[in-house]
Every structure is written in C-alpha cells, then in structure tokens.
Amino acid sequence: MTGQSRPNRLLRNLSAKIASIPMVLTALCVFVGGTIWTVVYSFTDSRLLPRLRFVGLDQYERLWRTPRWLISIENLAIFGTLSLIFSLAIGFLLAALLDQKIRFENTFRTIFLYPFALSFIVTGLVWQWLLNPDFGVQGLVRSWGWESFTFDPLYNQDIVIYGILIAALWQGTGLVMCIMLAGLRGIDEDIWKAARVDGIPMWKTYLFIVIPMMRPVFITALVLIASGIVRVYDLVVAQTGGGPGISSEVPAKYVYNMMFEAQNLGQGFAASTMMLLSVLIVLIPWAYLEFGGRKRHG
C-alpha cells in the first residue's frame, strides 16, 4: 500500500495522517520536548524549582560518585534480567494452560490477574509480612517443626532483590498472561487443526509454529515488562524502602528521592538522563532492525 510513485503524496492516506495527529503531537511536544527539557536542566543546579544556572557536568560527577546510584544500577540489571525471563515464561505458560478449553477459565484468569488491581502501597506490606522471618512463611514452617528452615529474602542484603522479584512476578505476570492469551486467541483455529492432522506434538506446535506467529505479541509484552522494570519504584518503596541499608535501591527511586525528597532537581534530572540514554542505546538499534529497509507487513 505504500507505493511511492503516485501523485499527491501529501494527500495519500490523508485520513490516516489526520488520525495520527494526537500521536504526533504527543511524541513531539511531550516526549521529545520533555526529554530535551530534562537534559537541559540536568546541567543546572536546580534545587526545589527548575532554574537555568548552569554548572556543567557537576551533577553527573556527583551521580557517578554516589554509592547508592551504583548499587541501584546493579540491582536493576539483576532484577531486570530475571524479571523479564520469568514474566515472559510464566505469562506464556499460564496463558497456554488457560487456552486448553478448561473449565473455570474466567475464575483462574481473575485469580492470576487480581494482584494487578491492588494498589501496591498495601500489598507491599503484605509481602513484607509474608517474607518476614519472624512471623511470615519462615515462622510458619518453623512452627510446623522444621526448625532450620530459612526464608528471609527481605532481611538479607545479598538476596533482597529476589524477595522483590517474588512480589513483582506476583503482581505483574497476570497482565502478561492476558496479553499472551489475547495473542493465542488471535491465532487461527485451522493452524491447530492442521498440526493435529499432521500428528505434530503439542509442545512442538507451540514452539515452532505458534510462538513465531506471536512475535508481535511477544514484543508488546517485552516492552511492557521492560518499561515497568526501568520505572520500578513503588514496589521497592512498599516492600523494603530500599533496604536493608541501600541494598535494594533502584534508579527510578533515586530519581524520585532526589527530585522530591532531597529537593535537588538537577541531580534527579541527571540520573534520569542516564536512564533515558541507556534506553536509547537499546531502542535505536532495535528500531533500525525493525523498520530499517523492511517494507514487509509485520
């Protein structure tokens, strides 16, 4: 449809262009404009209110000298990798199970999805309790007689990030499952029939036929999970507040604390500029591969 030889290029697809005006405005004014604004002010010494008093790279120098920021990045890397893998895997598995013409599908789906609906301010507290060594799961198992049972992720600096992961998966996998389920439902029944006629085992059908067909859906899920990971904030605040010590700090929390608690906007902007920069480093090659040169549909 995108033939370029016809006249009136501007008028071609006019409806599509008009329909895209909100998107174009948002992209340019808010996201590009806002990002430039952030980058510019990251070179200033803005405190409570943004002000244009430039201090060069001072904010960045301080940022990379701060132990808390370095730990935040490390945590994000570990948490991000694991969360991405487990969310996709669990989300897809649950969706595939629900797609087996089972009874009570609606009930099971709601069970897996409900955590997404509950504000994390309080559910974070519940996970605090569950993972508390004294009165949580550890205490329960010990009271059954297994005295040496140890499960205290939130109070052990080395594994605290896994404690957060457990709650993050609890909250987020339901939505991934729904996206996967919608993707599965978009796949033609005939494909399943054909595979069955050919005697292909079910796991092979999933692995070699269905999943490749669902590539766009996987990308959606991937971006959704990844953007959630980069911005992860309230989960940590509600569960550990960054502790014990500063062992579960994450970048978005650093940005937030700097901007609003420390009243140091410049430092917060510098940190968020670094975050956005790393997103760009991943995103631009991907966009190039996805769109560059390819004219094919999908």
Partner: protein
C-alpha cells in the same frame, strides 16, 4: 466484503487446544494440578489481607498473621469506606469514589480510542515518518513519570487546563499512549493481511475498515487495553493529586491518606480493607470483561 458482524456466537467462542477426551486424564490432572498450585501463590497474599481486615487491632498486635480472626469484625470495612479521616473529612473512601469514576471513564475511553486508531494507522496505513513517531512513542514508555511532572504542570497552565478534570484526562491519555499504541499496532499486524486487502479491493476506506473489520476482530486485545487502563487510571494517585484541585481528587488520595500516615498509629486492618475496596472496581471489570476473551473471528471472516 463479508458481513463480519453476522457471525454466530457459537463460532465466536472457544479456546484452542485439543478437546479433552475424558474428565480425569493424566493431562487434566496435570493442567488443573498446576493451575491450582500456582493459584496458591497468587491467593496467599489475598488470604492474608482478608483475614487481617476482619481482625481487631489488638488481635493484629498479638502477631500471628496467618491465624483466622478469633472474633470477626466488619468494622475496618465500614471505617475504610465511610469513616476514615482524610484530614478533617471523615467520610472514608466514599468521598472520592465518584471522582474516580468521573476521571476513569473518559480517560479510559479517550486513551483507548486514540491508541487503537494510532495502532491501526501504523499497522495498516503506514505513511512516511510514521515509524519515527512510533519509536519516539516507545521511548516515551520508558520515561519515569516523575521527571515529566513539572513540565506538564507548566504545559497545562499555559493551556489553561491546570486543575481541571480535562487536564487530567489528557495526561492519562498521553501516558497511556505508548504502551496502548504498541499493543494495538502489534496486534493488528499479527492479523492476516488478506482481510485488509480484500476490504481495500472492495473500496472500503480508513474509517470503514477500522469500524467494520478491525474492531470486531480485536475483542481480546481491547479487553487487555481496558484492563491496563482501568487499573492504571483507577489506581493512579500521583497525577490525580498533582494535576487537579481537591474537589476532583480521586479515591486513591483517600486511600493514601488512610494508609500512608508516617507518625500516626497504623491501623493495618483498615488499610487492608481500604485496599481491597479500592481494588474492587478493576476486579469487577476484569471478571465481567473476561467473557470477551474469545477466539478471533479471522477465519470465519475470510471464509464468509
């Protein structure tokens, strides 16, 4: 062009996968076993919340969080809904309920409408430069909200929308756009292209194809979009409180006030009840809209 809307419900429904042969087979044991086991992980926190919300404070202070309440009390629920104080206004969550509805309904409709049209234009009507904007939009999904807080205050002030309901609706539409556009674009892309081509040959235009073909074929993805938006907007606290005046504050402001007092006595039971009450609306939406998780009607449409 086929009359898509005339397809019978029987053809609409039904998941894929093989039809179960017997009620109790190894396969069924495995499937239901796994689902039930996983359900425990998902339901344990809910159990804890419900149990806690039915206890009195002295009982909570005694410590065994797993124990069922010795004396069931519904007082925390009543308090959370109708009596908990937000400063001087002691009418609990009920105070912000209608504001939340008034914010959520237009925000969800507008954001999904715009994003689905975006996605459709991007998937089927690609024009020059479209992918650049799309990439920027995806980039936007990664921007921490907090960074944009003050620039948007200034933008809304200049537009004269600061403090009102519509300013907030626009903010929700903007921040919902990246993920939703991606969601719709990728879903439309994965649909068979023949459908679109056939409609073009029949002479259908931009809007006709959107309404008659794309919309009916994409119920599951619309449900996902509704789930994302209803949850996100209903639970939003920061935007609601930063961009509106107190008369429009959503219910989550009360929730936060009840839950997040730093120096006061913490009433865990009321906190739990308030959270469950706040989550009720998205939960109902999940359950009701779940029926729309139907198999796409792509095949039927082509054949018809």
């Amino acid at each position: 062009m086929a009359d898509v809307t005339a397809i019978s419900p029987a053809e609409l429904a039904g998941p894929s996968g093989r039809r179960p042969r017997r009620a109790i087979s190894r396969r069924n044991v495995f499937i239901y076993g796994t689902l039930l086991l996983v359900s425990v992980y998902y339901l344990l926190p809910l159990y804890l919340m419900i149990v806690t919300s039915l206890k009195g404070l002295p009982e909570i202070r005694m410590g065994n969080v797993f124990a069922p309440p010795v004396e069931i009390t519904f007082e925390p629920w009543v308090k959370a809904w109708a009596q908990a104080c937000t400063g001087l206004n002691c009418d609990g969550l009920s105070r912000g309920f209608w504001n939340s509805v008034r914010i959520t309904v237009p925000s969800v409709i507008l954001s999904i409408l715009i994003a689905s049209i975006n996605g459709y234009a991007l998937a089927n009507w690609r024009f020059r430069g479209a992918n650049v904007f799309f990439t920027i939009l995806i980039f936007g999904a990664f921007i921490p909200y907090q960074v944009m807080l003050y620039p948007i205050v200034i933008m809304l002030r200049e537009l004269g929308l600061y403090g009102g309901l519509w300013g907030l609706v626009i903010v929700h539409t903007i921040f919902g756009m990246p993920i939703l556009t991606l969601l719709f674009r990728n879903y439309f892309t994965s649909l068979p292209e023949e459908l679109f081509k056939a409609a073009r040959v029949d002479g259908a235009g931009f809007w006709a194809i959107y309404l008659k073909i794309m919309l009916p074929m994409s119920l599951p993805i619309f449900v996902v979009a509704i789930i994302i938006q209803v949850t996100g907007i209903w639970n939003d606290f920061l935007f609601g409180i930063v961009y509106t005046r107190p008369e429009y504050y959503p219910m989550t402001v009360q929730l936060n006030n009840i839950v997040n007092s730093v120096q006061g006595v913490k009433e865990y039971n009321v906190n739990m009840a308030a959270t469950l009450l706040t989550g009720l609306v998205p939960l109902i939406v999940y359950f009701v809209s779940g029926k729309l998780f139907v198999r796409g009607i792509a095949a039927g449409a082509v054949k018809g």
